[in-house]
Symmetry: C2
Subunit: 203 residues, 2 copies
């Protein structure tokens, strides 16, 4: 055997072993269930990943619901893109902007409560496979909504419904109830280098 053949054989053997481990791990996982997914942390990608999941569901012909709790005027890019999928996406923008934009606590609470009713409505719709509750964590953090009530409703979702909750500072009770929690950490951010929010990237 040449050195190259030996290298190649060693690689094949190593990868065959790795594949066996991988296959065993896959075989051990048998549960199918609607997941409660939380995307949190200070980094970018929380909402974007949620919308990426929505897109994937739409790709499979499924129906998706979205409630935006906070960012009223943002994310017009996705909204226009999702319009392509017609009735298979139900979109409610309930937030009136960040709380430092409205400067009105009572109005913020009322907006969060209206958004939460929409969320319950979408979660109760059996034709919907995935509900995105965008920036719900912000509404919970500022106590615009009752945490216990929200977590109980999310836990009581039907068995095959996937729900994604986004926003910084996810509450421990929500993390506890969730199946999948990802923290997005900012290793490096272009805002620090003076780059502004740009179309298609930030909104």
């Amino acid at each position: 055997m040449s050195i190259e053949d030996k290298d190649s054989e060693r690689h094949r053997a190593k990868m065959a072993k790795r594949k066996a481990v991988q296959d065993k791990e896959v075989a051990e996982k048998t549960i199918e269930k609607g997941l409660l997914i939380v995307n949190t942390g200070p980094g970018k990608g929380k909402t974007t990943a949620a919308f990426g999941l929505a897109l994937r569901m739409l790709g499979y012909g499924k129906k998706v619901g979205v409630v935006q709790f906070i960012k009223g005027a943002w994310h017009t890019g996705e909204k226009d893109a999702f319009a392509t999928f017609g009735e298979r996406i139900v979109w409610h923008t309930m937030g009136e902007g960040f709380t430092w934009e409205t400067q009105d606590l009572a109005r913020d609470i009322a907006a969060a409560e209206r958004a939460w009713s929409k969320a319950l409505e979408l979660m109760a719709d059996p034709s919907i496979s995935l509900v995105v509750l965008d920036e719900l964590n912000i509404a919970l953090r500022y106590d615009y909504l009752d945490l216990g009530k929200v977590v109980d409703a999310l836990k009581a979702r039907r068995g095959d419904l996937h729900v994604v909750v986004t926003g910084r500072n996810a509450k421990p009770a929500l993390v506890e109830a969730a199946d999948l929690v990802t923290e997005m950490t900012a290793v490096k951010h272009h805002f620090a280098a003076g780059v502004k929010a740009q179309q298609g990237i930030e909104f």
Copy 2:
């Protein structure tokens, strides 16, 4: 003034101050540029967030290019969904699956090199606003491609082109060259609880 009015007034004042800080920060950022974005880390959402960005760009009528370096058979959900946008998305699935699937080093290297040529082609196309190089980090980690060559080409991209690179274990030289680096960390994962990969969630 009633207690409620005082609370409300205090909230308004606090939020007005916060808005002033926010506005000042926004005003200080004036640079517009095509970003080199890296989504890395062991958590979920690296590829999904990249496709979410792609969707946002499509929503603004822009054109997007995608090269998948590794996962040949995966992500059919997004692929079908993106088909809705017709010629505004150019998609190349160049990977032949994970390296432990192919078990053939020479084939993996050849596939990565073909994928990289496609990447260069898309980056050179002035009609494209965003190029997603999905799982390029994996190809770099296994030395299927020359790191210096790849980083130099990414740095030399035209001024208004955004590029997103995904995959675990981003190389330090790539992180150094990037404008925005996000690490996705798994706080909690449903695979650990025996839940299997499900349509619309993992693929």
